[in-house]
């Protein structure tokens, strides 16, 4: 195996970057540019390292790879890292989105640039840590630690109601997570360890499973978020700066989906099977209700935020079918949503930087002034509603396929969500891009700058690539998904 502790390097590199950046003084434009470049290169380097990780990853092997294990706190709680076919994709997604976020913040962040970039790099460390850690305490550490930089990013650089939103975000997530902490402690006491690869083979009694599952569910349900605990998400999205929204939609929500796959169904298959109807019901409600709410939104970011809740409904549907297709679909849906919703928030950011409003009715007829923008926005709107040929289709299709094999009624309801998604997405697009250009302040609008094009190109390429040829991605996921499903079935029988 590989001797280089590559996962630790991925986690630590942003910290090293932070250290260097604290040494740079921030007193004029030149130095603030230096800071931005430093942060950008650090995160880009991290992306390259994660690509190296991806290419040296053995796709046939379903076990954890690149494992690292050191003594950390005491016997049973160790510093244990490793990736499998599911987590590696999230790591690459994270490292890809962070440089894009930093690039997108070049002009929109006007003050305290240094603190902003430091917060972002710290956030990257926590996010990568979440997907790498194979120890529950370590996982919790990263999972919760990410709250601190995100709290500051929304609170300092956010919009008008930022204080309310960031408190809501923080306290909702914290309140959900502390129950997971108790569950982790209980696991530590009964099983004697919090090592994930050990616990995957450990059998909890049925009653234990039910309680522990609910505790983990409390945390992930708030984070992913599921109806009815989704209300923090639109608030946080609306007030966060563009890059904050991108990372929130792109990565932070996926932590919970990843948690469901890895922990909820991995550790507690019986309880998961028991509660699957609950999950299905909540997901269906989320898909339909939030889609309807999205229809009446006046604020672009809120609309996309509600659509995120609906899309994550598909993810939870797929996970709890316990089929290979369902899990593959969920992971692809999460990756796709990570790319597409991130891009949509960037699209909102583009016009927001020019007009400083997110009200849909203030726009209209942008296509005549911003053709390139209209094209970019179209691709992501279509991907968001799941048009064949885009990444959004692959995930939704696999999820619907798997849910259809379980229960037809759920599948029917879920499919209405696809129709509703098309309605609100296309309507948003029509109101903003098409129509006559009658508003005066819009006639001054400039099309995408070179920097903005650079941020969009990789996202467009990936959306279409996964949409047309998803095989490489599925190949990576499949062995791990199969292993999870066989483990679950093995425990259930």
């Amino acid at each position: 195996m590989n001797e280089l502790p590559i996962l630790s390097i991925l986690i630590l590199l942003p910290i090293v970057g932070i250290f260097f950046m604290t040494l740079i003084r921030n007193n004029n434009d030149q130095s603030s540019n230096n800071l931005k470049h430093t942060a950008l290169w650090i995160s880009f380097l991290n992306f390259l390292i994660s690509l190296y990780l991806l290419f040296s990853f053995n796709q046939q092997d379903a076990d954890f790879q690149f494992e690292e294990r050191y003594f950390w706190i005491e016997y049973g709680i160790s510093y244990h890292l490793g990736v499998d076919g599911i987590s590696i994709l999230f790591i690459v997604l994270t490292t890809m989105l962070v440089p894009i976020c930093i690039l997108a913040s070049y002009d929109s962040i006007k003050f305290s640039v240094k603190e902003y970039l430091i917060a972002f790099l710290a956030l990257e460390t926590f996010m990568i840590g979440v997907f790498c850690s194979l120890d529950l305490v370590l996982f919790y550490l990263f999972f919760e630690g990410g709250l601190i930089p995100m709290f500051l990013i929304i609170g300092i650089w956010g919009g008008e109601r930022r204080v309310y939103s960031t408190f809501k975000f923080f306290l909702y997530t914290l309140a959900g997570s502390v129950f997971m902490l108790l569950a982790i402690i209980y696991i530590f006491i009964t099983a004697g360890t919090t090592d994930v690869s050990y616990l995957l083979d450990y059998n909890f009694t049925r009653n234990e499973q039910i309680v522990l599952w609910l505790a983990f569910f409390a945390s992930f349900m708030v984070k992913i978020p599921m109806w009815p605990f989704h209300t923090w998400l639109p608030d946080a999205h609306v007030e966060a700066p563009t890059a904050g929204s991108v990372i929130l939609a792109g990565v932070l929500l996926k932590m919970a989906g990843y948690g469901f796959i890895r922990f909820s169904i991995g550790f507690f298959p019986e309880a998961s099977e028991l509660f699957a109807p609950l999950i299905f019901t909540l997901s269906i409600i989320a898909i339909i209700v939030t889609s309807l709410i999205a229809l009446v939104q006046e604020d672009m970011k809120k609309l996309i935020a509600y659509s995120s809740v609906a899309h994550m409904g598909f993810v939870t549907l797929g996970i709890f079918t316990f089929t290979v297709q369902g899990i593959e679909g969920s992971v692809i849906q999460m990756i796709s949503h990570g790319i597409v919703s991130a891009a949509l928030f960037l699209c909102v950011g583009v016009v927001y930087d020019r007009l400083h409003t997110r009200e849909i009715s203030r726009y209209g007829g942008l296509v005549s002034k911003m053709p390139m923008y209209a094209f970019t926005f179209m691709i992501f709107i279509l991907a968001s509603l799941g048009l064949p040929g885009t990444s959004g289709f692959v995930g939704e299709f696999l999820v619907l396929l798997s849910i259809f094999s379980i229960n037809t009624y759920f599948a029917v309801f879920a499919t209405t969500g696809v129709v509703l998604a098309a309605t609100y997405s296309l309507w948003l697009y029509r109101r903003m891009i098409f129509g006559a250009l009658i508003k005066d302040d819009l006639s001054e609008m400039l099309d995408l700058t070179r920097r903005e094009i650079i941020t969009f190109v990789p996202l467009i390429a990936l959306t279409i690539f996964i949409g047309i040829y998803p095989k490489p991605v599925i190949d990576i996921i499949e062995p791990s998904a199969k292993k999870i499903v066989s483990q679950v079935n093995g425990k259930l029988n």
């Binding site: 604290t22 003594f71 950390w72 706190i73 005491e74 305290s112 240094k114 603190e115 305490v137 919790y140 550490l141 990263f142 919760e144 630690g145 709250l147 601190i148 709290f151 500051l152 609170g155 300092i156 930022r162 204080v163 408190f167 923080f170 306290l171 914290l174 309140a175 502390v178 129950f179 902490l181 108790l182 402690i185 209980y186 530590f188 006491i189």
Partner: protein
Amino acid sequence: MENILHIIPEIFIFCSALILLILGLFIKNIKLINNLAILSLLIAVALVINQPYQSIYLNSYVIDEFSSLFKIMIFIGSIVTLVMFVSSREDLHINLYEFPILILFSTLGMMVMVSSNDLLAMFIGLELQSLSLYVLAALNRNSLLSSEAGIKYFILGALSSGLLLFGISYIYGFSGNTNFNLIAVNYNSESLGLLIGIVFVLAGLAFKVSAVPFHMWTPDVYQGAPTPITAFFALAPKIAAMGLLVRFLFNSFGELYLDWQQIIFFISIASMMLAAFAAIAQTNIKRLMAYSSIGHIGYALIGVACVSSEGLRSLLIYLMIYLVMNVSVFTVILSLKRNDAYFENISDLSGMYKNHPFTTILVALMMFSLAGIPPLAGFFGKFYIFVAALDSNMVFLAVIGIIASVISAFYYLRIVKIMYFDEPKEEFDGVNIRSLQVLFYPSSFLVILFFIYPAPIIQLSEYAIKSFY
């Protein structure tokens, strides 16, 4: 005679306090006196580390791993207070040479407290400590608030000592002994009088650790006392009283734990919940820290309520982390002043990150740590407390604990919010005081980087509870 050799640290502190008292009459250099006091505390640390473990004076005075660890924590608290005194003594009008001497006497009292294994030794230590603290609280004679704090603390403290003595007399009456270990052998577990004694002694001790419902003095005294003394209140006496509480309960009534466990259970829950709600409305930083300390004592008491080795271990981990976090917070409170006036209102912190970015991020991280957010040290303290609680099947206590921690996160976050999200005010001019930086930076970095290798602290606390389990 041989016994004297075993209490050299105590004798050393006592002698240096007396010598400094006499020196102070002739030398007007208060800073020198203060530095000599710091030096003698440092020497005492070395003496305590090298002390052989033994119980002496007919087993009424115990020197073991537990007492040594507590003594070192107390010394750290005292040293920090004396360092704070140097930079703030003139602005706060407490430029008196009695200050370091009273701190030394109080420290001596606390050393006796954590080593005592006898009701009388315990009471003597407690009183020596308390009497010094009464004077310290009222040290700023020109300030109405300070005098009020002193009087209030004295009256309530005297009352609690009365309750304690009353309880002691009952325990003596119904068991015929004052030695903790002999009480454990001789009591009649059926007798109601013994239970009354335990309740009264616990009430007195709960007053000293400021646990609800005996916390009323804390906010007023914290606010009124000069800030270095407030820091001292938060750092040393509570830790010492906690050590005493543990030894008293575990050594004399370890078998009878079902009787007192529910009392600790109740005051722990009450402290956590009351502090979480009461602190939300505070505008004065010192009052807020008072409620914060009440809440933290509530968490620490979970460790006692567990009556297990896990519980004691988590108590020690929690107290050590609590000590370091408070050092950091109080040094920063003392280093923020404008035009020679110290800030007291939280709103004075408004927007301070614009002028002092580095200090602010450290303070913000301290707040997150106090709230128990990972990966900071405060999280590990709570983590082990909850491990102990669940290990003893006290799910209810753990659930209340996490609910209180979410509520209390709100008021810690409020400070972060004021520092970061509100409009900036003028610069503070005290952040560059060298002597405070020497304490502030190491303690902050210790809290922030604790997660990298927490094992030593955990092993140390396991080592320190050897004499109990």
